[in-house]
Symmetry: C2
Subunit: 250 residues, 2 copies
């Protein structure tokens, strides 16, 4: 692949352009894209043009640019995320109907919890999760589950890094975090009160694939002082259902 004078590849440039789009910024001018991606103006115009031609970006009448439906289609059509999400959705709907709070599915991605799906109950409380959004592993209930069941090297890596205090009750001490992870492995669930938002408690359980490996975390977000027993029971049952559904859909 040909490199630009600055040494980055065409693939890097495309990723940098796609990264400038976020849930708060779905429409941009080419100049804004170029500035945010750190690309020279001529490069930005040429590269955005090529991406529009390929359908990965779209231009509206005012020449503003947004992500293309074709990109969405290509990213989803052959993805494991879609298969997992399809297997999980019926059980997530039942959890949401029972518990009447936000219900969400996350996977481990580059040392963060990446949220594949979120069902929001209209009457439910605050929740900072977004689909395709991320949360730190040590602070979110989903992250604690994903971290507890990940390989030792990854745990050591996360524990060695500074643990940011996201909310007043975030675990920021490595020894406490290590004990918490051991407790999650023992009990098979986690209750994290106020660790990512002071007003809420996250409850999460591991979701195992057909071969028994933990592939995701299923969680609900409750008001801080709410009882957690019904949520834990509903999540554990849902995780068993999802595993069974993944086993039969192979």
């Amino acid at each position: 692949m040909a490199n630009s004078p600055s040494g980055d590849s065409a693939t890097d440039r495309i990723v940098r352009i796609l990264e400038t789009f976020t849930s708060d910024r779905t429409v941009q001018t080419v100049a804004q894209i170029g500035r945010r991606a750190g690309l020279p103006s001529a490069t930005a115009y040429r590269q955005v043009g090529a991406l529009v031609e390929a359908g990965l970006l779209e231009r509206d009448e005012e020449q503003r640019v947004r992500l293309g439906m074709r990109l969405w289609e290509l990213a989803l059509r052959g993805s494991d995320a879609l298969r997992l999400r399809q297997a999980a959705l019926p059980s997530m709907e039942r959890v949401q109907a029972e518990i009447r709070e936000h219900t969400q599915l996350a996977v481990l991605e580059q040392d963060e919890a990446l949220f594949l799906e979120r069902l929001s109950h209209p009457q439910a409380g605050a929740n900072i999760t977004r689909i395709a959004g991320r949360l730190p592993l040590h602070a979110s209930s989903s992250g604690l589950v994903l971290l507890a069941f990940s390989p030792r090297e990854r745990q050591d890596h996360v524990l060695a890094a500074p643990l940011a205090r996201v909310a007043p009750d975030t675990i920021t001490d490595a020894a406490t975090l290590r004990r918490t992870l051991a407790e999650v492995r023992r009990s098979g669930f986690v209750v994290a009160a106020g660790s990512i938002e002071a007003v809420s408690t996250g409850v999460a359980v591991p979701v195992r694939g057909a071969d028994g490996e933990v592939i995701a975390a299923l969680s609900v977000v409750l008001p801080r002082e709410a009882p957690t027993d019904a949520a834990i029971a509903a999540l554990l049952r849902a995780a068993r259902e999802i595993r069974a559904r993944l086993a039969t859909s192979r």
Copy 2:
């Protein structure tokens, strides 16, 4: 952007690689990707390597390649598809709970109906739709709605092309199709019996955005001889709710 000897750009090559992944083919070797994308072996290895490094593709222990979670994240995070789907999901869930059949949301994309979401009822009948899958405009109930409310030029374009007979009752005659589209615009819904599968009837309505423009089609798939009134009523109400939700979420 630098072109390869064959004249295609890096963007084209990336799209061709991503296109080799489908719902039936989520894992491939680099050799398979190269063959299916029509790329020389060395190019395929270099390009897949760059995409793996960027996180858009992932490699497993056996060196087989799949779409990366990072691609999924980039494609969804800033996309209008996600916003529309989020606004539609609560109403789709209500339609599914009421009608107890497959409920789906489609948009117009490159002269086909592209399905953004599908809720499948466990007891529901056959349905060939997949999320991120496509159906022809003239044969699916969603497609007929999307075509009926699209600009005249697009209608002429579709009507001028051969209309494939997907099922015994697919409309394959341009004059009949034109009358059907006019009827859809008048009534505000379509009932398409056996046009895409002999055993089922699709019922679809337009979904309008905040500014009144038709941006999607909402549909249910019923058994061929089932009554359609309840489905039409549920879909029309859902479409009104989605429009209201889109208006307040801007």
